[in-house]
């Protein structure tokens, strides 16, 4: 058997536990299982490090079983494992036992955004002093470049409150699901990943800025979606959290 055929049979037996062991192997199934266990344990540990709150919410046993299924169906495509696991939240949501926790996919998006922000490109946050000299009439023409680590997650559930109590409290504080949704900014201006609650409609606002809209255009897009969008409060929080890498006045 040539090396390619052998590795194909070996790889199939690793991922499909019903498949026959590769031909020509010297060693019992228990020895072959060392490799199966190494793969399952190491990739489950990777997912657990990226989704600690999901793991706490669903419990260890369910998390491990779900991770095992996910690894079998969506094995990593690259040895750079930083990219592995982005689809885990959506996968988890589709599983029957997770249906009673409707906020899981948004918590998963929040945890993934924190992971992505941790490893995102570094950039010095924008210098805000430029704002002091701006002609107020030209404010709507400003272009605001988001920090490379910045992401925003809107949810109909209080996801940051759920995330915080499950991250920091020894005994989880009950969160009323009908308390209203939360829109959460994730950004890492320097070394620490920061999360902050943003005014409603900020997700539309930031999506428009990210797509290249000016400040005025983005404010209109957010107001069209969320009538009560508070531009001043949103900008103040984004500046306070150092969520921009550049502030570019209009050319004229």
């Amino acid at each position: 058997m040539d090396a390619d055929a052998l590795q194909r049979a070996f790889a199939r037996a690793l991922t499909d536990h019903d498949a026959a062991l590769p031909p020509g192997l010297v060693g019992s199934p228990a020895r072959f299982n060392v490799h199966r266990n190494n793969i399952a344990a190491s990739l489950t540990a990777v997912l657990a490090s990226r989704y600690p709150v999901i793991r706490r919410l669903v419990g260890d046993d369910f998390f491990r079983a779900a991770a095992g299924d996910f690894i079998a169906r969506h094995p990593p495509q690259s040895p750079a494992l930083m990219a592995f696991g982005g689809a885990f939240g959506a996968f988890l949501t589709a599983l029957e036992p997770a249906a009673s926790l409707p906020y899981l996919p948004d918590i998963a998006r929040l945890e993934w955004a924190r992971h992505a922000a941790y490893h995102a490109a570094d950039a010095e946050p924008a210098d805000l002093s430029i704002m002091a000299d701006l002609d107020p009439d030209r404010l709507p023409l400003l272009r605001l470049t988001l920090h490379p680590s910045a992401a925003i997650i809107g949810s109909p559930f209080p996801i940051l409150s759920i995330w915080r109590t499950n991250s920091f409290d020894a005994a989880v504080i009950p969160i009323a699901l009908d308390a209203g949704g939360e829109t959460v900014l994730v950004v890492r201006p320097h070394l620490d990943v920061v999360t902050a609650i943003m005014p409603d409609g900020s997700d539309e606002f930031i999506a428009a800025l990210a797509a290249g809209a000016s400040l005025g255009e983005a404010a209109q897009a957010a107001a069209a979606h969320t009538a009560a969008f508070d531009l001043t409060a949103a900008l103040a929080e984004l500046f306070r959290r150092q969520a921009f890498a550049a502030i570019i006045p209009s050319a004229i």
Binding site: A3, D4, L25, P79, D122
Partner: protein, 279 residues
């Protein structure tokens, strides 16, 4: 470009958990090693910490994902990411494993065994040539821990590695813990292996802890290369036996799971260093 070299002293695998202690204590340790795969994000704390450590210590990159033993072609994107880290951090050494871990598009995240045949030797030779060309450096290849072997083996692991070193000019990384694990799993004498290892090619030595599992056959124990505990007495003895013959070589203590306090890991490195001092 590999710009510096690793001193023939003891080092440890760098864990970000130990960063604060290392920066505060500036320990007298020969060097650090990291897995480049853990530094493949664009930025963030891992790069910040590694850059800070690199200012004060020699660094070695120990790849775990290149899949040198793949029957298919090397992952050129992955090789390019490693080359970028080599030019950013100017490590004294790059090493990889005699193993495969990718098949077609799936990455299997384990070091999988190869049969030792003329066919696999020429595959590995061409991949090592390609890596050495891309990095413009001599790399080291590590002997694996194995749990199964193959009926079609045409040569011993040592003959395979010695031929690889001769044909590519690469160095070898002797992992003494892997010798101990494979010897127990396959019933060969680890002293004979270490005595027969081609000492002239050895550029680095690894030490680590392993686990002994309840084996399926009581006559043949199952040892697993876990890197989750202190180096075993048997591994220390094999190491001393090798360096008495070879002389001092850069020696790394690996401890990747159930990571202990910095003082415990540093103590392991000091134990290795005292063996190096005595050889």
């Amino acid at each position: 470009m590999i710009a510096t070299s690793i001193p023939p002293r003891a080092g440890v695998g760098l864990k970000l958990e130990h960063y604060a202690a290392i920066v505060a204590e500036r320990p007298d340790i020969g060097w650090f090693e990291v897995h480049p795969e853990n530094y493949m994000g664009a930025g963030g704390p891992p790069h910040h910490m590694l850059s800070r450590i690199r200012r004060d210590y020699p660094l070695s990159l120990h790849g775990v994902g290149l899949s040198i033993g793949s029957a298919g072609p090397l992952d050129r994107d992955h090789l390019a990411r490693i080359a970028a880290l080599v030019s950013r951090y100017e490590p004294g050494l790059f090493s990889e494993h005699l193993a495969w871990s990718s098949h077609e598009t799936a990455y299997l995240n384990d070091l999988l065994p190869l049969p030792y045949t003329a066919e696999t030797l020429s595959l590995v030779v061409s991949h090592v040539d390609e890596v050495q060309e891309a990095l413009d450096a001599r790399i080291c290849i590590e002997n694996p821990s194995t749990y199964v072997r193959f009926a079609d083996d045409e040569m011993s692991e040592i003959d395979f590695l010695a031929s690889l070193a001769r044909r590519t000019g690469c160095g070898l990384l002797l992992d003494v813990n892997n010798v101990c694990v494979s010897a127990a799993n396959h019933g060969f004498d680890p002293n004979t292996y270490v005595d027969g290892f081609p000492v002239e090619h050895v550029g680095e030595i690894h030490l680590a802890g392993h686990a002994r599992l309840p084996a399926d056959d009581p006559a043949a124990p199952l040892l697993v290369d876990t890197h989750d505990r202190a180096v075993h007495a048997e591994v220390w003895a094999l190491y001393e036996r090798f360096v008495k013959r070879a002389g001092a070589r850069p020696t790394l203590v690996e401890w990747d799971n159930d990571i202990p306090a910095w003082s415990v890991l540093f103590g392991e490195a000091q134990a290795a260093e005292s063996i190096l001092d005595g050889c």
